[in-house]
Amino acid sequence: MDVTAEVALECLERMVVIRAVEEGICAEYSNRNIRGPVHLSIGQEAMAVGVLNVCRPEDVAVSTHRDHAHYLAKGGSVGAMIDELYGLESGCSRGYGGSMHLFSGEANFMGASAVLPGSTPIAVGLGLGCKLDGRRAVAVGFSGDGASDEGSFFEALNLAAVLKLPVLFVCENNGLSTNTPLAARQAQTDISAKARAFGLVAANADAVDVFAVRRAAAEVLDHVRSTSQPAVLALTADRLCAHVGPVSTIDPIDTGAMLAEAANGATRDPIASCVGAILRDEPQLRGECIEILEGVPTRIAAEFRRANAAFEDRNAVAGLVAPPPPKSHTV
């Protein structure tokens, strides 16, 4: 670990917040009060957290259909997000956006697009805004590997490079687009090599390790901020959940199990990996880790209960009958 204890716990806490919110979705979805497609980031939390932990509040970010982690890691309100999932007016997008379109003006989280690779060109425009503002802020555009099948993704890279804009393109490579593997979609799968062929600086990191992500992000961000040139950060990790729908392939956080898993060097769970790294280097933080693993889910479960009750109240007036859940969660 090359970070202070404070930063380490901050990263852990943020990842657990993200995981707990998504576990809450999995737990609550069958009640059919959360009505909309959900794309979870279970297994990929370290991508958002590692990158945004080294960003500044004034940096602006934009995301995709899989935006929960980015919104939360950028500092979006947990309660307002959960309200949004329940379609409440108090939601972060006032009920208009839902899971795929979280927004937080205060957190400089500018929104999310559920059409590929829609937010990537927008990130370029945010970068132009940052440059024109002259505040040395950076625009961060998150995308998946599937978005890099699309031509406009490369238009965006080239445009940012030609105009010399401070944009960090974070490509979250989970190896899948829906369920189609990257190698079935791209003849050459090295996204960093492509970025370099387009004249951009590019770096890679294994995103099971949040601190590795943080390190790589700090380095490219520094480049972007100091030169006003764009860069690509390609991150790899596994999607430990279904493409869409409330389906996690791993168990909900359980402190005992997590501490055991943390010792597993081959874990693909970034939270276990993070706990493992902390306990290896700073065993005295065991108590803090346990507090996070136990406290955060409890607090977040309470938020779900609150929002669910608000939904029920609202629906007592509206009287909407939930339609049958969609046959398939395909988006």
């Binding site: 208009y96 839902g98 379109h101 059409v115 699309e150 687009s177 189609t180 939930a322």
Partner: protein
């Protein structure tokens, strides 16, 4: 009772059935789409095609809609009959250069020596909080453009017959599949017959007022018709089936007969179906009564169930409107 000459299928089953029939008959037909061979892909409307015809004729592709339509155009120019399936009509926006500037125009550009027999199926993700980017009923923009055909089936039977015509057409055809038509089942003939484009269908006979509808709004219009029947209004329901070509003759003759018209559209009002129907009628003869347009709100679709409920037309509201308007 299912007779041996028919199958009871839902919309997805009907589409698969028609596709299989044509792929059997015409080896030039092939199908492709993003994740097409995934379990449950496209609301099951491509189930079993790869198993039957092999992945060479039903193949998965990268996410690159513009190039994918180009793939269709090029192979169509070589005499093949490609079918591109898009999970949302919204995603076709990435392919508009190929669709509008190329597929629709290539025949004209060559002096009509070349043709582009491409079929594009695209879904509309109506409901369940799909929000603005996954629920667009973006079809009017295609219907504006000469060189394209735009098809909006209302049921399994319609879906099968219209798809067959699309597959045999020499023009580029956009088939719009609204999530709202996927639920019910219907008897579909074992051997599907093509349904000609530009020929509307009487979905319900009636004498006082004509409801022109398309896609999922046909069943909605039928329910409204049933409801207003109780108040003594006899509504005929016409399924227009295709927005281009449009059955202008039927529109004119129905309008002339009842003099009272409502249009039931899946999209927005401006430059949409009610507009087009109004033009066709207005160019022919005046209506007796004001035209009633039934459509989603003129706003981008919100996600929340509460807001979504107010966004789409509601049965009771529309029935009331019809009664106020026409009785």
């Amino acid at each position: 009772m299912v007779s041996p000459d028919t199958l009871r299928v839902d919309y997805a089953g009907a589409v698969v059935h028609a596709l299989k029939q044509e792929m059997e008959r015409d080896t030039r037909v092939f199908v492709y789409g993003e994740g097409i061979n995934d379990t449950g892909a496209y609301l099951n409307s491509t189930d079993g095609i790869a198993a039957r015809f092999g992945e060479a004729r039903c193949f998965d592709v990268p996410n690159c809609e513009d190039a994918l339509v180009g793939l269709g155009i090029g192979s169509a120019l070589m005499g093949y009959r490609p079918v591109f399936v898009s999970l949302r009509v919204d995603f076709l926006m990435l392919a508009m250069n190929q669709i509008i500037n190329h597929a629709a125009r290539w025949p004209a550009m060559t002096g009509y020596q070349a043709s582009v027999p491409l079929t594009i199926r695209a879904l509309i993700g109506r409901g369940w909080g799909q929000a603005a980017q996954h629920s667009g009923a973006l079809y009017s923009m295609f219907a504006n453009v000469p060189g394209l055909e735009v098809v909006l089936p209302s049921s399994p039977l319609e879906g099968a017959g219209l798809l067959l015509t699309a597959l045999r057409s020499n023009l580029t055809t956009i088939v719009i599949d609204d999530r709202g038509v996927f639920a019910g089942a219907e008897d579909v003939p074992a051997v599907v017959e093509p349904i000609p484009f530009g020929e509307a269908r009487v979905a319900r006979a009636g004498t006082d007022v004509t409801f022109f509808a398309i896609s999922s709004m046909v069943s909605f219009a039928l329910r409204v018709a049933d409801q207003v029947a109780a108040s003594g209004i006899s509504a005929e329901v016409i399924d227009l089936r295709t927005a281009r070509p449009l059955d202008e003759e039927t529109i004119r003759s129905c309008a002339a007969r009842t003099g009272r018209v409502a249009v039931f559209d899946i999209g927005w009002p401006g430059f949409g179906l009610s507009a087009e129907v109004a033009r066709v009628i207005s160019e022919a003869s005046p209506l007796q009564r004001r035209l009633l347009s039934v459509h989603r709100k003129d706003e981008q679709t919100p996600s929340s169930a509460f807001l979504e409920d107010a966004h789409y037309p509601r049965l009771d509201d529309v029935a009331q409107q019809v009664e106020a308007h026409f009785s």
